[in-house]
Amino acid sequence: MIKLLKANFYRLKKNKIFYLFLLFTISYIIFLTFTEYRSMTKYNNIIFTNDLLFKYSNFIGILISIFTIMFNGSEHFDGIIKNKIIIGHKKSNIYLSNLITNIHACIFIYIIYIVLIGIIGSFLFNKIIFNTELFIKLINVFLLIISYSSIFTFITMNITSEYLSSIINILLSFIFIILSLMYSSKLSETKYNTKALITDNTTNTFTYIKELNPSYPSKKERKLYKFLLNINPSGISYQLNNKPYTDINILIIYSSVFILLSNFYGIIIFKKKEFT
């Protein structure tokens, strides 16, 4: 396993996509701090550095999907995985070493984001407030990265065609975002709609009527939407950046189960996979 990790990290060091990922992150930091600073100076908005720390998680899934395609997918294409099997490495070790390398690369990039945004944010906006909430949110964001890496590693390791796994990975990363927006919008429906009725045209007097919102989900539906939002990595990042619908401590459990299941089945399928 250590041999495989050493080889993977050597390949990572030589991988252009990894450096592009890093460059994109730095560009995003510049863009984010610039737009937030503008909104602070122009509209007197109060910007909390703590909030900025999690903004990147909104679309990191798309970046992780691209990175895993380029890193794992090319292993199939270049025959590196076949070579590792031929020289006697266990399939489970090959799978795990690739997963660890992906997680390592993505967490490394997110740490760079956190450190840079933390330093710049502390100068331009408010200093970071170190509290339990921040700590729990950071655990959540790291688990989120591991979840994304796990599911995309699952796909890229088990689908030999680089083109097919690319399509599935990128589609899936968008599907995660679309579904999380769908469920969160369902959950943000208010129970009642307030209607304003003009009761006197001459004096422009309004009467406000509270009406039951027909789109408001039932108790059962809310439970289901919350569950679907929590098992979706993008749903978790939505909750970290907005009002959470579930206790953020509980989100840790959802992410952990997601990681365990995707890797458990990923390894089982990979072990049975034949390389024709």
């Binding site: 250590i2 080889a7 050597y10 270049d78 076949k82 099997i85 034949e274 024709t276």
Partner: protein, 303 residues
């Protein structure tokens, strides 16, 4: 005889198609084993099974007397390497970097041997060039260098000269011979190029429709395919008498024709025949090549 690879009733089925059908094959130590068969005969499937990229449907195989499903097989596999249809190279890396990656994957403590390996395959002058600029022959040689990193005792080569130009073919042939003679590496090589195989192989296995129809050593094959001269005479008894007197090996075909396997002084032979009232009606030199042998064998198998 010590065998590096032994298969026992090795069978591989894909849905309704049998790619390998009860194959019993033995690869002797230090041999160059030529695996011959047309497309779809099962050569690549056999190599993929031996390299554990696929699992057999039934039957088994052992490498260095270790069964494929035993716990020790992972250690044994460190003594085996392969160059499949396409070498596992990262095109954006240099030859040196590709070898470094292989060194790390194998887990060697130092990178000292890389330059020697590049020398061996004749790529030391282009070691810092990106592999994407290499010709097919150079990529194949680098692929062989990669397969040598683990210092294997057994290498499987699947169609290593496919698509190569004559120069490339010669350099791969010389490299294979060098590895076998100097490093005593056992090599199993599958190829369509029978003429090339006949120049290097010490043993042959003929596969057809997933079945191993014949296994033969190069010496045995040479005996079967040696040069011979076919003669037709009016009195076969006189011709036989002459061959026996002169210790010439022969084989009678029918009342008028026979085959000889040694050189004869033809004028002396004709003179002898004429003295004994016998006439030489026809003389024909034939040489049966590996190709002819293969075609005949496939013909017999299909009949």
């Amino acid at each position: 005889m010590e065998y590096i690879l032994k298969t026992e009733n090795l069978t591989k089925k894909y849905k309704n198609f049998k790619a390998l059908d009860n194959v019993n094959l033995k690869v002797p130590a230090c041999s160059i084993y030529g695996l011959i068969g047309k497309n779809g005969a099962g050569k690549s499937t056999l190599i993929r099974i031996i390299t554990s990229l696929e699992t057999p449907t039934s039957g088994s195989y052992s490498l260095f007397n270790t069964k494929f499903d035993s716990k020790e097989i992972y250690q044994i596999r460190e003594r085996v390497n392969a160059l499949l249809d396409k070498p596992s190279l990262i095109l954006n890396m240099t030859a040196y970097e590709n070898l470094t990656l292989e060194y790390l994957t194998v887990g060697l403590p130092s990178l000292d041997g890389i330059n020697d390996l590049l020398d061996l395959v004749g790529l030391s002058n282009v070691k810092n060039k990106k592999v994407k600029t290499f010709s097919l022959g150079m990529k194949q040689r680098l692929g062989i260098a990669l397969s040598l990193v683990s210092n294997p005792d057994f290498i499987l080569l699947d169609e290593p000269i496919n698509g190569l130009d004559p120069e490339g073919i010669i350099s791969i042939r010389e490299l294979i011979l060098k590895l076998n003679k100097k490093k005593h590496i056992t090599i199993l090589i599958s190829s369509h190029y029978l003429d090339e195989l006949s120049k290097i192989a010490t043993h042959y296995g003929f596969l057809d429709k997933g079945k191993l129809i014949k296994e033969i050593s190069a010496n045995e094959l040479n005996n079967l395919t040696q040069k011979k001269t076919e003669l037709k005479v009016t009195n076969i008894k006189e011709a036989v008498k002459y061959f026996e007197q002169n210790n010439i090996s022969y084989e009678v075909i029918d009342n008028t024709s026979l085959v000889i396997f040694d050189k004869i002084n033809i004028s002396e032979f004709i003179l002898y025949l004429s003295k004994h009232n016998t006439e030489l009606k026809e003389i024909k030199n034939t040489e049966e090549t590996l190709e002819n042998y293969y075609i005949n064998l496939m013909g017999e198998n299909n009949d």
